[in-house]
């Protein structure tokens, strides 16, 4: 299960510079809890435990509200996250994560609860000064299909070290399918982390707040 370095592919990942989120698996025997407020269109909370560095198991709650017609969906899910590949390079790390799960969805657009199927993918590349990631998260049921694609490009004004406060400036582009939002939602974010705590805050081009908090322990 050892993931081997491959400089060429990491270079390709950087060239793509497609962004994402925090890693769905932090470290072996670690627990991650996360809460995100996505400018009123999405809210999500997650809790995962990783028995290995390449696998985490847990669940989450996702609420979306259409910016177009006001329809809401609430999805409660169980999910497994898997590290497909990791490249540990001299001064960088690149990862490919995939996940899948099942859940229960309710909405003001349909009655009762429906079985929700969830799959997703994240590709990221990171040095101590540059961060680039792309995340795609798909939820489907018999009544809907929605995908949230998030691209993040980050720049650190100074190279942080372990136990330092890390500061990142992040540009985010997010698109939604399934009638949730028209066009691309742009946001500028400031990310701070130290120890096991991560806080990210910013604002979209429409002036709506975007917030995320994550804790690893």
């Amino acid at each position: 299960m050892l993931k081997q370095p491959a400089g060429v592919l990491a270079g390709v990942l950087l060239a793509f510079a497609q962004g994402g989120e925090a890693k769905p698996i932090a470290f072996a025997n670690g627990t991650t809890v996360m809460a995100e407020y996505g400018a009123g269109t999405m809210e999500e909370t997650q809790a995962f435990y990783a028995p290995y560095y390449w696998l985490s198991l847990g669940g989450g709650w996702l609420r979306t509200e259409s910016d177009i017609d006001g329809r809401t969906r609430e999805i409660r899910y169980l999910r497994a996250n898997y590290l497909v590949q990791r490249w540990n390079l001299d001064d960088a790390q690149a990862n490919v994560f995939a996940w899948g799960g099942l859940g229960s969805a309710s909405s003001n657009a349909f009655r009762g609860n429906l079985l929700d199927r969830n799959v997703g993918l994240q590709v990221d590349y990171e040095t101590r000064r540059i961060y680039a990631a792309l995340m795609s998260d798909l939820h489907e049921s018999s009544a809907y299909s929605q995908r949230i694609d998030t691209l993040q490009l980050g720049f650190a004004p100074y190279p942080h070290d372990y136990k330092d406060l890390a500061t990142w400036f992040v540009l985010q582009a997010r698109s939604y399918t399934g009638g949730l939002y028209r066009g691309v939602e742009w946001a500028a974010l400031v990310r701070l982390f130290k120890g096991g705590a991560w806080v990210e805050a910013g604002v979209t081009a429409q002036g709506k707040p975007q917030l995320m908090m994550m804790f690893n322990f």
Binding site: P5, F27, A28, Y53, Q93, T127, R128, Y162
Partner: protein, 122 residues
Amino acid sequence: MMFAYELEKIMYEKCRFAFFALAATFAVLAPAAAATIEMDVNGLVCAFCAQGIEKKLRAFPATTDVVVSLEKKLVALSTKEGTDIDDEELRKALTDAGYAVKTIHRESESLDDVRQRIGAKP
């Protein structure tokens, strides 16, 4: 002549006893050396993720302290006096944490000295 020989023999025995007594005293009083182990690690770019390495290494009963430097791409640990951790165990711990170990080497300096040398925070 006989007296001088006996005297020399007695002196020799006394010196020999004193030498062994001194050596035994040092052996009892001198502490067994504690090991400082340094590992050069690839992929060490994120402080958030380096937590996993520290957690893994602190889980060894022999570990007394751990230092991680992203700048130097270095992980160092100290062990209890008279103990050591096998290279294979260290390599497995780092691999299980999701990182690639390049080299493992032991240093005579203390972990505090290593911490000062690389500018790492306690």
